[in-house]
């Protein structure tokens, strides 16, 4: 029976007993002890970079929420408070790595360098995906929960087969770890030694359902062990720790040791989406407590204390963020033009007669409408 088991010891897979933290909520460095692996503070310029992108990301997020109030976006799932996860994970990747996002990762995609207006196409309602997934190496934002992780596993394996030294990063929320596809993805990635990183943003709620109703596991990170997948848990509001753990995960994947799972403990400060009323399922005190763990303020305090950020630099970034928001608002101010005939464009790469027939019907309807309108104006 021995040959059916793998050499890896359970100890090598276990996460640290407590979430990895490099900076405490006040921004003071935390002495590392008791973690499963050594985690080094990222370099000063990486920390400056991630702080800048978190500021930009948050401003983008606030603007997107504002756009829902102005009726310019149909819906927006905010990720305010989750900046360290989304920005930290993305800034640790190279442009060659693949990303598999959900509806919640708009901020991550903006950080990835995708035009914010293209990112918001899904939520605006003008297209299911506004960017080119192959060109951006970023899959379409995915709404059916956990399904994107299996794609990430497949792509990670494909990258390995192609001899590309790249990973596929799949984001997922805490609730979605209960879905079957989460488990199938971990198992596939493990069995095929695929360089996939599963990044769980444990923001404590799945719409209204708290983590306690989702799982009895001591930590979501532990779910990886049963699949032979190495894992770690991290303070998801500590950008330095997120990047350090990402570095370890990337090193693990790139050195051919298979997939890695990260559980980031964080919190969703806003409601599930603008359409949700979070006061029905959680207290204001709870939210206030998490506000005190703000990832941006935390890193800013550290950077300032270390002489890595001064007022001028901070103001420049905040101005850049304002410009981003203004530009986004202006560009979203016009109604998008969506050609009705595009309905039929991409059902198949090679269309069937039945799609062609439906297209001809709508074309005729539009033609008739146009003629009727012309007659009225005549």
């Amino acid at each position: 029976m021995r040959d059916t088991l793998h050499e890896t010891s359970v100890e090598a897979l276990l996460p640290s007993p407590r979430p990895v933290q490099l900076l405490d909520p006040t921004g003071a460095p935390v002495e590392q002890s008791g973690t499963r692996r050594p985690y080094a503070m990222p370099s000063a310029d990486r920390l400056q970079d991630v702080w800048r992108h978190m500021v930009l990301g948050r401003r983008f997020d606030l603007q997107a929420t504002a756009l829902t109030k102005q009726g310019r976006l149909a819906v927006y799932p905010s990720s305010r408070g989750q900046e360290a996860c989304q920005v930290g994970a993305i800034r640790s990747l190279t442009a060659r790595d693949w990303v598999f996002p959900t509806y919640r990762e708009s901020m991550a995609l903006v950080t990835r360098g995708i035009d914010p207006a293209e990112v918001l196409a899904l939520l605006r309602g003008s297209a299911h995906c506004g960017y080119d997934p192959l060109a951006q190496r970023t899959a379409a934002q995915c709404t059916p929960l956990a399904t994107q992780l299996v794609h990430a596993a497949g792509t990670a394996y494909g990258l390995k087969r192609r001899g590309e030294d790249c990973v596929a990063l799949g984001f997922i929320g805490d609730g979605a770890t209960s879905e079957g596809d989460f488990h199938e993805a971990l198992n596939f990635a493990a069995v095929f030694d695929a360089p996939a990183i599963f990044f769980v943003q444990n923001n404590k709620y799945a719409i209204s359902v708290p983590l306690s109703k989702q799982t009895k596991a001591p930590s979501l990170a532990y779910k990886a062990i049963g699949y032979g997948v190495a894992c770690e848990q991290v303070d998801g509001n500590d950008p330095a720790a997120v990047m350090a753990v990402m570095d370890a995960a990337l090193d693990h994947c790139r050195s051919g040791r298979g997939p890695f799972l990260i559980e980031a403990h964080t919190y969703r400060l806003d409601a599930h989406t603008n359409a949700d009323d979070a006061s029905r399922y959680r207290s204001g005190d709870e939210v206030t407590a998490w506000l005190e763990r703000d990832p941006i303020a935390r890193l800013e305090a550290y950077l300032r204390a270390s002489g890595l950020l001064n007022d001028d630099q901070a103001n420049a970034v905040r101005q850049e963020a304002e410009a981003l928001a203004t530009d986004l608002r202006d560009r979203m101010n016009t109604d998008p033009e969506v050609d009705p005939m595009s309905l039929f464009d991409n059902v198949f790469a090679s269309p069937t007669p039945q799609v062609a027939e439906a297209r001809a019907m709508v074309e005729a309807e539009m033609h008739a409408e146009m003629q009727a309108a012309e007659e009225v104006t005549r």
Partner: protein, 350 residues
Amino acid sequence: MTTIDAPAPAVAGPTTLTFAKAINQALRDAMTADDDVLVFGEDVGTLGGVFRVTDGLTRDFGEDRCFDTPLAESGIVGFAIGLCYTGFRPVVEMQFDAFAYPAFEQIASHVAKMHNRTGGKVTLPMVIRVPYAGGIGGVEHHCDSSEGYYAHTPGLKVYTPATPQDAYWMLREAIADPDPVIFMEPKALYWSKAEVDTSSPVEPVGRAAVRRPGKEVTLISYGPSVPLALKAADAAEQEGWDVEVIDLRSIVPLDDETVLASVRRTGRCVVVSEAQGFAGVAGELASRISERCFHSLEAPVLRVSGLPTPYPAPMLEHTYLPGVDRILDAIDRLQFDDQPDTTFSEGARG
């Protein structure tokens, strides 16, 4: 990893093959032609699949090209989607029709929609092979006719060959197609044998085949029902009816042209399907024909199909499945004006 032996030489020219062997040959030839074609699923490797359809592929092409996966259908299909992003052309096997359902989420939400969701940027040139339908005495969940679920989902092509020749070329075309194809293989036909010409393609997929010309009744069939329809047409001939048998070959795309031209000539039509009739492919055909051939019809379009019950235990499958008699009865109900005073009787139909 096993070493890669030279693949078995492609069979040139016509040769007699079973349906299963024809699919095997199509996989071999597609894998030889294109290194990016990968075959995977449950038991498809060393074992060669429970129906031996993938027999010898791992031996001949290596474990990198034909491999076993964990036992998880959603994983298999989702993994294939991910591989498409990196330029592979996966051909995956669902072991049996009803065991594809765990993958239905991936199939309906992603395989079918990815091209559309991404504004045409991403194509999924994958094939999902589904051994389907009954007539083999299988225990529960081994005999479903699930084509309706797939055909009802825009974005999926649904092929269902009925001859070894079609099985070979339609699979080659499915693998070459940039669109995802659900390739439905009638299990009861796996052991049927016929001549297969691998050197020249049959008509392109999307064209129905007239398997038997006739002037008085159009019998529409596909997949497992084609041999049955042909048998029924022979029996009807004994009773004086000249029946045309059409094999759709693919449900999506559907060859309206061939179907409608035939019904306009014959004025009478029966659709045969092994799937239960309610809300299914046969009903779709009946309404298309009624909508488009109303003035040519001498009688309503009738359906002969599986019963609106779950597929039964093996001892009842012959009651469940459409048979020659039910088809002949339907032809009777088409109310020929010149009802010949024929010899057929209740008794003759058992």
